[in-house]
């Protein structure tokens, strides 16, 4: 909600004690927000930009003709002036600057810097580390390209790490996220932003508040999107809380009714059929598929660029027919070994080494009954995802598969 409009239309009204009464048609009625739940974030954001943005001589030039620093200085001066004027005006609490963001979940009210400056602050430290191969694009053009990239994430567990990599590196304006699952405590070694807050919905969500069996779980997709919006409330998320399936996968990939088409799919699903169906449809529509895998101590990143190579196979160095045959065998047989047959078809035959291989072979002590996943390797996979997708988006050629082995401290590039 634009602050100027909110103030002049009486949508945000401050009382003498600083309580805000919020009026909005999207709320069931007026909401009172006490000062303890108000977060004025504009000045801290602009202060940080003031400190971080480079001086006029080598500041990136904007299409408007001014430099980024000049544009910022103009905005900053205006804001500080407004702030002083507001301070001197009886009954005024905030200048007409920025946007109010109301968090319906917590009842918190944020006053956030305008979108351009807020999102710039989230990216400024990346500087111009990311460039196109020829080094021809301006900082603004690079930013526009990355901002305009739409990534669809299928799977929010390991996928949340890739999301983190992508938003930190690219800061897209729009993303899609599909995951039918809820957060479990055992996800907390790898799910970005997971916490106690999300192991269960609050007691108030129960129909019987005393019934300890009534655990209302929290959707991974919702929590990841929510936490990301607390960083960037200007980012739009299209959530697929039921996951992707044969009915909605086309909309997920191609968009519809104002929902954009994705430029990339990040496939981190558990469901084997979905993993392969996502690739099949993405290939059909010429959409590159990225998958990060945390394979024991190894982080593995794969980009199947179906845009550049529409005839690429669905799996890794395996014919489609063989991959599909393995999939059907796995779904039919109930044999653990057939599961690994599909896994090999997707990530390569050499995926199991060291302790991870011991787990597959079931030698030695094995405390868990699910596939082992290293928290730090999950983070590294996310980092690889963010970096590689950004580079690819800017035109860099990427290898089909990159492995970083954190135990042996070496890298394998195919």
């Amino acid at each position: 909600m634009d602050a100027r409009e909110a103030h002049c239309c009486g949508k945000v009204v401050y009382s003498a004690r600083g309580e805000v009464t919020l009026h909005d048609d999207r709320l069931p009625g007026p909401v009172t927000i006490v000062p303890e739940q108000q977060y004025p974030c504009v000045l801290p954001t602009l202060l940080a930009l003031d400190k971080a943005l480079s001086g006029s001589s080598n500041s990136p030039r904007l299409r408007s003709g001014t430099t980024l620093r000049e544009a910022f200085d103009t905005e900053y001066r205006a804001y500080l002036e407004l702030l002083s004027r507001t301070r001197a005006t009886s009954g005024a609490w905030e200048p007409d600057f920025g946007n109010y963001v109301y968090d319906r979940k917590t009842g918190d009210l944020y006053l956030v810097a305008p979108e351009f400056w807020h999102r710039l602050a989230l990216l400024t430290s990346n500087a111009k580390l990311l460039t196109d191969p020829g080094g021809n694009l301006t900082a603004e053009e690079i930013r526009d390209r990355l901002t305009g990239t739409v990534v669809g994430f299928v799977g929010a567990s390991l996928g949340s790490n890739v999301i983190e990599g992508v938003v930190r590196e690219m800061r897209p304006r729009v993303a899609k996220l599909a995951d039918p699952d809820y957060l479990e405590a055992t996800n907390l070694n790898r799910l970005q932003h997971g916490s106690l807050r999300y192991l269960s919905q609050p007691r108030s969500s129960r129909s019987d508040p005393r019934n300890g069996f009534e655990t209302q779980f929290v959707s991974k997709a919702e929590l990841v999107a929510y936490e990301n919006q607390l960083v960037d409330p200007y980012m739009d998320w299209y959530l697929y809380g039921d996951g992707v399936n044969t009915d909605n996968i086309d909309q997920f990939l191609l968009g519809a009714n104002g929902e954009p088409r994705v430029h990339y799919v990040v496939e981190e699903a558990d469901d084997l059929r979905i993993k392969i169906e996502v690739r099949r449809r993405a290939r059909q529509y010429g959409i590159p598929v990225f998958m990060a895998s945390d394979l024991g101590h190894r982080s593995q990143a794969q980009l199947q660029d179906f845009s550049a190579n529409p005839n690429a196979t669905l799996g890794y160095h395996i014919e489609d027919e063989e991959l599909m045959s393995r999939l059907e065998r796995c779904m039919q047989s109930g044999d653990r070994n057939d599961f690994f047959g599909v896994a090999r078809g997707l990530v390569g035959n050499d995926f199991a080494v060291d302790e991870y291989a011991s787990w597959i072979a079931q030698t030695g002590e094995q405390p868990t009954s699910s596939v082992p996943q290293s928290g730090s390797v999950a983070q590294m996979s996310g980092a690889l995802g963010g970096k590689l997708l950004a580079l690819h988006r800017l035109g860099h050629a990427l290898s089909e598969r990159i492995i970083i082995d954190t135990r042996r401290m070496h890298m394998i590039v195919d």
């Binding site: 809820y182 655990t215 039921d242 399936n245 469901d271 044999d335 009954s369």
Partner: protein, 406 residues
Amino acid sequence: MTSSSAFSAWKVEPLSVSEFQALNPSPAGSINLDQTRHLLRFALLAPSVHNTVPVAFGLPLDRSEVDVFVRRQHVLSASDPTGREALVSLGCSVENLMIAAAQYGIECSWRPEPGLSWKAVGPSPTCSDVRVGSVQLTSQTVIPDESQRRSALNAMLERKVVRAEFDKAPLPAELKVLLRACVKPSERIGFELFESDRDKFAWGKLDELAMKHKLEERAFQLELGHWLLPNADASSVRGMRGREFGFDDRLTLELSAQLRGEVSMAADQLAFMARAGRGGLQSASAICVLSCLDELPDTAISAGRVYQRCALLTWAHGIAHAVHAGVCNVPHARAMSQATLLRGKMPPSVIFRLGKPLQGGDWSRPHSSRPDLSDVLHIPVEPESLPSSASINQALATARRIDQPG
């Protein structure tokens, strides 16, 4: 037992009405033993937990009725410590009996045994059968038309549990109406159909959680390992062959030996099994949940009757089914489902999924075996076939002693 006898129950030739009537030279209105035996052959085709067939029938000579007994030696001590699952299975048999009888113009009514307590129906290594009720048989004049009769009898002969991946296609609307009509208000059984991906996922996750919990119980593993039979076993009249789950010969032998603790098992094997159950539920067109209060054992029989009605109805419409017992058998999972998915109503008693197998070949998975009718007529006998429930219960008792500290 010979190979043919373990599966010959499925080769019942449904008699025509005139053939059926010819079995009884007595005046019209009475039902004799030969006729009752013919009807009981259909009762025997009903499904049961782990295919234990924990039912027995008594045929009083002086009355046109069938006494129904729970054969406690076949009640699973680890999977079914209260006997609830066994009674659901008995309900299925009762329903088959009544449906078969109706095709010959015989009206049936179910009379539960007065004063029956849960304590009386639980597992017991002894051979004491416990009467849980009786089916009164009364001749009437209304006989369904021939096509309807054939369809009803054939559905019982063809029906089987198909534990395969389904195709998720929505159920026909008219079938859903008919399904809801399977529950009579007097039965006090809750009926809910879950069709959304979200609900199917939630049931699947809860089933996975419950199954993993149950599978980690040593006694349950041992019991399941005994009831999971080699595909090549041609003689056991009770128990489940691996092929009924889609397992090949090697995996069946390996898995049953692992469950019995005879060979080592991968740490993720049980999780893999639990996960497969979840996949099955997610692949369903719909998940059907029958719920009831556990106040009396007869409610479980009622739930079984409704389940069997639904199973036969859907089968006749080309829809397969598979039961998922995990949530119902794990008290905390049951309580969770009652509080969340069932919105505080009655606890679930039977959970089954409906749909068409994704792979057409799965329709032709074989039937499970059945004992001979003479085995379940009420002269309690120790079954000749393996696995012997008494020996399993003895093994379980030994396992428990080992599990106990000190």
